[in-house]
């Protein structure tokens, strides 16, 4: 439904402040570790599209590395979703080539690692 405004050219006054071209060539990517609820929210990272998918574990480490589960992750067994769809990423190929776009949400599940004392923490 369109906004009810006092002017007809509302959009001229109301620019989009969240467009890909405003990010100096980066994609704003969200990375979320399932079942680890002690982290308050998905992390956000600015990544250029040529970033190899295989760099994501290192990116994730900057935030999630403080969790005792993190070093136990076997990255070859990790299950991934991209914007809600399961994917089998090629670590050697770039995120841009594999469908990651501005504000994509990448979620990963680490089988066998269900948080502190298995309590999803």
């Amino acid at each position: 439904m369109p906004v009810k405004a006092i002017v007809d050219n509302y959009k001229d006054f109301n620019p989009n402040r969240d467009l890909p071209e405003q990010y100096h060539g980066n994609l704003m990517v969200y990375l979320y570790w399932n079942k680890h609820m002690s982290f308050v929210a998905a992390m956000a990272a600015p990544l250029p599209p040529p970033t190899p998918f295989g760099a994501l574990p290192e990116v994730a480490k900057s935030v999630y590395g403080t969790h005792p589960d993190f070093e136990k992750i076997d990255w070859s067994k990790v299950e991934w979703t991209l914007d809600g769809n399961p994917i089998t990423p090629d670590f050697a190929k770039s995120i841009g080539e594999q469908g990651v776009r501005h504000k994509s949400l990448i979620r990963f599940t680490t089988p066998g690692l269900d948080g502190f004392e298995g309590k999803y923490v």
Binding site: I6, R17, P20, Y30, A41, A42, A44, V63, S104, L105
Partner: protein, 505 residues
């Protein structure tokens, strides 16, 4: 000349207001009042507006001046007696920091909003009521600054509150709430602030803060609360009057008003999440739990209010059941947020002690031990190992409420709630169905939201590194982070040691 007879209050009020609503002749009425039609609200008879207060301007001034005199006498006495040393604990001051940075600037926004609305409603009754409320809100802003400024002489995190309000990530939650209301039309503003905020939700904001101050020995803030109380009852009356007036004027108004009520209930609920964390975690001496407050002030009081409004066809706000269910969780989730992000805030956070955690178990028997105590246990263990847990990065925000995406699925507290919309080829993320609906109703509006994390990445917040951003926020080096070992903590300990020494001598 015969002496003029003294007028009665009613007569005075009639003179005060009714004379102001003349029909313009040089200019068209619609040109003089351009804002009160575009929202689609239909008013057939402005004179039906009932103002039960009928407060004349001269009695308004007299009454307010009297309250000011009392308040400033208490503030002076508090300062002279070093009242700051008699509070329960220096942790309490973080409540004042949250209030001064997150609420007081919104008093000012409310002042601006009511001034605008008071100018632009062509009915004279609401115009006068809005102008009085506008003055009240300005007074609230001013007296809060004066009350809290005494604490600024001793504690960190208070001095740059004005800049912080405009820039800091978590303060964009209250700021965007008021920005949203103030960029709406005058009727939506009245429903947003006058009805949803002042009537439905205000007790959940002021009772916790003011009783919290009383329980924790902060008599100056308590006095401010008293001084604002009579204003608030006037504001509540205006809020209820506006909704009844709109619903009585024309049946076409109902669907518009219902959408606004739904929207502003949810926005208000999200905003009050900050109060929930304050009540359950930040007050050294607790008043009641957030859940208890919600039961009393929303489920019971709000329930009977909406029962009363049923005769106009108005329904309980959409997602109110979700909100009530979420009250088992939000304070724990949001304090977890503060705990792990306190190093990038102007607030201190700390590990709740055992007694506090047992209180939480008792107040939240369904959820605390099962979902939230384990988090604190992990963090406690990390503290003991000298690795106090901080979230070392930037995070995902809800595009509507601007809180971090921390809330969980309504039926599953172990899964974060992610909602998404697509608009003009772009993704937008939301923390809840309520926030998604608000965006979907007016995407053209929310695409221009100033989202703090997005703005950091775009290079608009002082620079790319965390220290750059903190400098832009005007945080001092000791404003945030862990409470234990902070300057505030050390100062407090030195005061306590001095009193014990004195007592011993």
């Amino acid at each position: 000349m015969a002496p003029t007879k003294k007028m009665g209050i009613k007569q005075k009020y009639a003179h005060l207001t009714r004379g102001l609503d003349w029909e313009t002749t040089y200019e068209k009425m619609d040109d003089v009042f351009p804002y009160d039609k575009f929202e689609g609200i239909k008013i057939t008879d402005w004179s039906k507006w009932e103002d039960p207060f009928r407060l004349t301007m001269d009695s308004y001034w007299k009454f307010q001046a009297e309250k000011e005199r009392k308040l400033y006498a208490v503030i002076d006495a508090f300062a002279q007696n070093n009242g700051q040393t008699n509070i329960s604990d220096a942790r309490y001051v973080n409540v004042l920091k949250l209030f001064l940075t997150g609420i007081s600037p919104e008093e000012y926004q409310a002042h601006r909003g009511f001034a605008f609305t008071g100018r632009h409603l062509r009915g004279v009754g609401p115009r006068v009521a809005c102008q009085q409320q506008s003055l009240d809100e300005l007074r609230h802003f001013q007296t809060q600054c004066h009350t809290i400024s005494h604490f600024n002489k001793f504690f960190n995190g208070l001095s740059e509150f004005r800049t912080m309000h405009d820039r800091v990530f978590y303060l964009s939650v209250p700021k965007s709430f008021f920005d949203d209301a103030r960029t709406a039309g005058p009727f939506e503003f009245m429903i947003a602030i006058g009805f949803a905020f002042e009537y439905v939700l205000t007790n959940l904001l002021f009772v916790p803060f003011m009783s919290g101050a009383a329980y924790n020995g902060d008599m100056s803030t308590v006095t401010f609360g008293f001084s604002a109380q009579s204003d608030e009852s006037r504001h509540m009356t205006l809020g209820i009057e506006v909704i009844k007036f709109l619903l009585e004027q024309h049946p076409d108004n109902l669907p518009i008003v219902q959408e606004w009520v739904d929207k502003w209930f949810w926005r208000g609920f999200r905003l009050l999440g900050l109060v929930s964390m304050m009540m359950d975690y930040m007050l050294p001496k607790k008043v009641m739990s957030w859940k208890e407050a919600w039961e009393i002030y929303f489920v019971e009081a709000g329930g009977s209010l909406f029962k009363d409004l049923e005769r106009y066809g108005l329904k309980m706000p959409k997602y109110h059941e979700q909100a009530t269910e979420a009250c088992e969780h939000i304070s724990h989730q949001l304090y977890g947020l503060l705990y792990q992000l306190s190093h990038v805030t102007g607030l201190h956070a700390w590990m709740p002690d055992d007694e506090h955690m047992d209180w939480l178990s008792e107040k939240y028997p369904n959820t605390f031990d099962k979902y939230y105590r384990p988090r604190f246990e992990l963090w406690k263990q990390q503290e003991a190992e000298g690795k106090r847990f901080y979230y070392n990065g930037l995070l995902q925000l809800c595009h509507t409420c601007q809180l971090p995406m921390t809330f969980t699925e309504p039926d599953d507290p172990t899964t974060t709630c992610f909602r998404e919309s697509e608009y003009e080829g772009q993704h937008y993320h939301f923390c809840s169905d309520g926030c998604k609906d608000i965006f979907d109703r007016e995407p053209e509006k929310y695409i221009s939201s100033w989202l703090p994390i997005q703005q950091i990445f775009q290079g608009n917040c002082g620079g790319p590194t965390i220290p750059d951003v903190l400098a832009y926020y005007m945080f001092g080096p000791n404003d945030g982070g862990e409470y234990v070992g902070s300057e505030d903590n050390k100062l407090w300990e030195s005061w306590k040691n001095a009193t014990t020494k004195e007592a011993a001598e």
